[in-house]
């Protein structure tokens, strides 16, 4: 999302999304499908619940000794002949990649889908440095052609209908395509094949990195990840430091729940395990392998209020079930990571202030907590975030005043009774057929789309005088 778009308030972006008929059509179909597939998958997998508990415990235990696991990972990768880079910020991570491109004369980079590289806005930086980045995941390829950003953690082009993709391909690839996913996929495949062969550099993220063995794990469905990690002469993997897991046994645990949560698959079509560069005697693989370990606000949360957000596997399940995401899609959130977990990750990466509106973009329904494979208590952290916004005086003063007054009223039965009586009088001009149809000022926001039940002629407290006898 451009800076320009971010300057419009969240509410305006959300309203625009609600009015976008294509978005609504695409979102409803895709999120319903993901939700149903996930539900079905876990329904036939009774051991899943216990595995989720174990996965959560592993994440927690790993965080407690994160420094040690990261060092072990770095040692393992170096033993395999790979290079390890530590990046304190996203900017540093970007610089490391740009320097590599300069030093190795890289002209074209193919990319496998990676949220970490979205987070650091790598594509724009590469282009500015004269390197052509090519997204090779179909969804990422679509949005790169469209000049957009992902709107879902695992389905970046979820906001587009197949008709829109056909129009886009027709415009960008100079040929008329029908709205047929198979034809469109074949067209992308043909375009991308050449890029794979041309590219000097392959860039990926990492779903997991195993400390014990130095294995970088990529979970994909299209096979492009394998091409990216095996064809170009250099492979760079960028990962947040929280992605390290201790052992291959742990990996099996996470793989058992990740794809089920994301797409309802038992396993994704491809699970790619990368161990350093090509070794003597091996037929494929890059000459050089680089692993970038990126902090960018993560380490500060190990002992911070957003700690649990560091468990996140980026499966996207919480987006699919979130009533807000399901209505407005990912772009309206305005940051790399959308949805309920995205609000927390944005706060982690960019600070609480960056989500002062978004912190409230949740009805706290708890559906996200329910489906999270590692049971991250997102609603609780959102409430905590709201508390900090209030405490640190980031929340607007008008809001603080309203809630201060509400606190006074709710703390005093006499004031509460007085307000009930005032409400009863004040609502009179707005009553029609026993409902409040429209209200002025702030309250009008409610009645624009819904009626409000009126304050009763007699409250329950008043009724009790007879009932209690």
């Amino acid at each position: 999302m451009s800076d320009q778009a971010l300057r419009t308030p969240f509410a305006a972006r959300a309203t625009a999304a609600l009015e976008d008929a294509h978005l609504q059509e695409a979102l409803t179909i895709a999120t319903n499908k993901f939700m149903a597939l996930r539900r079905e998958s876990f329904a036939g997998f009774p051991e899943g619940e216990a595995l989720r508990d174990r996965a959560r415990a592993v994440k927690e235990a790993t965080l407690q000794r994160l420094d040690a696991y990261l060092e072990q990972l770095a040692d393992s990768v170096e033993r395999l002949g790979g290079h390890v880079h530590w990046a304190a910020t996203g900017e540093e991570a970007r610089e490391i990649i740009l320097r590599l491109c300069r030093e190795r004369g890289v002209r074209t980079a193919v990319k496998s889908k990676s949220m970490a590289t979205e987070e650091i806005e790598l594509n724009a930086a590469l282009e500015a440095a004269g390197v052509t980045p090519v997204e090779t995941d179909l969804g990422e390829y679509i949005i790169q052609l469209a000049g957009e950003k992902p709107s879902h953690i695992i389905a970046p082009a979820i906001h587009k209908t197949k008709g829109q993709v056909a129009d886009l391909f027709s415009r960008e690839l100079g040929e008329r395509f029908p709205a047929d996913p198979e034809v469109l996929t074949a067209a992308a495949r043909k375009e991308l094949r050449q890029k794979f062969l041309q590219a000097d550099l392959g860039i990926t993220g990492a779903n997991f990195a195993v400390a014990e063995t130095g294995t970088v794990v990529l979970v994909t469905n299209e096979g492009n990840g394998r091409m990216v990690t095996s064809l170009p002469r250099i492979h760079v993997a960028v990962m947040g430091i929280e992605k390290v897991i201790p052992s291959m046994t742990d990996l099996m645990l996470f793989l058992a729940i990740l794809a089920r949560s994301a797409t309802g698959q038992k396993l994704s079509v491809y699970t790619t395990l990368v161990r350093g560069p090509r070794h003597p005697g091996e037929l494929e693989g890059p000459e050089e392998f680089h692993l970038i370990l990126m902090d960018s606000g993560r380490a500060a949360q190990i002992a911070g209020p957003l700690r649990e957000a560091l468990y996140c596997l980026r499966c996207g399940a919480c987006l699919n079930v979130c009533p807000v995401y399901r209505q407005i899609g990912g772009h309206a959130y305005g940051h790399t990571y959308p949805g309920p977990i995205g609000i927390l990750l944005t706060a982690m990466l960019k600070g609480d202030r960056s989500v002062k509106e978004l912190a409230h973009a949740s009805s706290l329904c708890g559906a996200c907590h329910e489906v999270c494979p590692v049971r991250i208590d997102i609603p609780r952290m959102l409430v905590g975030l709201r508390e900090r916004l209030y405490r640190d005086r980031i929340a607007p003063w008008g809001e603080r005043l309203v809630f201060w007054a509400l606190g006074r009223v709710l703390g005093s039965p006499a004031l509460f009774r007085l307000l009930v009586r005032l409400g009863r009088l004040a609502q009179r001009p707005f009553l029609r057929d026993g409902r409040v149809r429209s209200l002025p000022f702030l309250f009008g926001r409610w009645t624009r789309s819904r009626d409000l039940p009126p304050v009763a002629a007699r409250t329950f407290s008043e009724c009790w005088k007879e009932l209690g006898r």
Binding site: A14, G407, D433, W446, S449, F460, S461
Partner: protein, 247 residues
């Protein structure tokens, strides 16, 4: 032999102001089941609106008041899953963090019940002896379902009512879009979520949609009346009380 079960009604702010008939139905129902009902004076609100928006010091003050209001109660029965959730799950921690009466809050949490849970778990009733004619559908309120883990009790009770045909609601476990101040901050998004819910309600063919939370009822009622729908939003207590039966 113990005497009759005693229960205090926690009416909640919305219940008191907007839906007094729900409280009346609850009293009728509980009395018919032999419960001695009282209504401790001085009630306002559980503090959920303050809590959810992050105003925790103010919420803790309101919570401390509520704890003292119900100090002498044997059981506290709440016609709203979200308020019951706050008292049961959050009061002790909230008051501990803000120097309130933590022990008393823990004790209150243990004897506070959402209505359907009180009926099934404390009284052990699944058939409350009521009659209500027609097809009804049930909406799971988020805090009762996911906060208190209760999907079964309200459905069991509804199935026990003579004349009721319970039709499951598509997406019954999905939020209605209320979310307290969420519905005021983002009314368009809230209304869009509500729109989907109402579509499912209409599709169910039920004459009324039952819920166990004043917030969801206010939200759904607002859309149903605006659309001129024939579907009536009702609280569980209104289906279980004899008022709906003696005709």
């Amino acid at each position: 032999m113990k005497g009759p079960v005693k229960a205090s009604i926690m009416i909640t702010c919305l219940g008191d102001m907007l839906f007094p008939e729900v409280g009346v139905a609850m009293v009728t129902l509980l009395r018919r089941l032999g419960v001695t009902v009282d209504f401790p004076p001085g009630q306002t609100c559980c503090g959920l609106p303050l809590f959810n928006s992050g105003f925790h010091r103010a919420a803790a003050r309101v919570a401390a008041r509520t704890v003292s209001v119900f100090e002498g109660s044997e059981h506290v029965v709440v016609p709203s899953g979200s308020c019951a959730w706050l008292v049961k799950q959050e009061y002790p921690g909230l008051l501990a963090r803000h120097g309130g009466p933590t022990e008393a809050a823990r004790a209150l949490a243990a004897r506070t019940w959402e209505l359907s849970q009180f009926l099934v778990e404390v009284l052990g009733v699944t058939d409350v002896g009521s009659r209500f004619e027609g097809r009804v559908t049930y909406h799971d309120s988020c805090h009762l379902l996911r906060g208190l883990g209760e999907a079964a009790a309200p459905r069991t009770l509804l199935r026990g009512v003579r004349g009721v045909e319970l039709q499951e609601l598509d997406g019954a476990d999905e939020c209605c879009g209320f979310g307290g101040s969420f519905s005021v901050r983002f009314p368009e998004v809230s209304a869009a979520i509500l729109g989907k819910k109402i579509q499912c309600v209409e599709k169910s063919g039920a004459g009324c949609v039952v819920a166990c939370d004043a917030g969801c009822l206010m939200q759904m009622a607002g859309a149903l009346s605006r659309a001129g729908s024939h579907v009536k939003p009702l609280h569980l207590a209104q289906v279980l009380a004899p008022d709906g039966t003696s005709r």
